[in-house]
Symmetry: C2
Subunit: 119 residues, 2 copies
DNA sequence: GCTCGCTATCGATAGATGTCAATATCGACT
DNA sequence: AGTCGATATTGACATCTATCGATAGCGAGC
């Protein structure tokens, strides 16, 4: 399994637009698509935005079920997907599971999709 | 149907991170998720990147089937999704359909997902 | 140790999605 | 008009996905 797309390129500032620089390879596309797919659901976007807008950018499951109006298992399911994709981190404190935003993951996506300035 | 997320806010430079500024409403989340979903497939990412890396940032279906290794109907299907989501535009010249990158659509997504500088 | 509350997992189900073969459409050229 | 090549649409199918109810696991406090 590839290290992590072209993170090295990005952090090294090689260029600015991996998507444009050259045709995406099949395996890189697979990895990138997987990360983007985690963002492609309205409920997950709302969960992410609620967490991001929360105090200390963290929230527990109990804070999230009511705002999105879905069952607790469903919310847990979405949080798991977001966590596995790297957008959230999970820490247990007492009985509660707190989810915190992981900004680097979002930055990676935005940098990957960003285009060079047009002429 | 909502105008278009918070494009006005973005272009007015209200802030920088719609996702973080406040919890996303259900209908805005729906629209944004739909646009992101168009990017959440490896084949579509590859098609987009091939078009972007092409001469004049445009390509026809015939240029695209072989690189991605899928049938012509499948490629047409993906191109339709990308076009309807606003990432590509389609113009016919003779028998060929040329697809061109629409950078604004990608910029909208990246701006929407971008976060404010951390402290 | 038991119970209680919070979270995760399981099983089921309806609906969405990616893919192809077959076919239709459309434009160009004779 | 008729044919041919490029693209789009249709129908079918297997797979994936979002959702829920039921249930299991896990900390805390008694």
């Amino acid at each position: 399994m590839v290290t992590m797309l072209e993170v090295t390129d990005i952090s090294a500032g090689v260029c600015c637009a991996p998507l444009v620089r050259e045709p995406l390879g099949a395996s890189d596309a697979e990895i990138l698509a997987h990360k983007i797919k985690a963002l492609s659901d309205p409920t997950r976007l709302r969960l992410l935005s609620i967490v991001a807008a929360s105090e200390d950018q963290e929230a527990c499951v109990c804070d999230l079920t009511e705002p999105v109006g879905l069952s607790q298992p469903t919310v847990s399911h979405h949080l798991k997907i977001l966590t596995e994709a790297g957008y959230l981190t999970r820490t247990r404190r007492g009985s509660w599971a707190y989810f915190r935003l992981q900004p680097e993951a979002l930055e990676l996506i935005t940098q990957f999709l960003s285009l060079p300035a047009r002429t």
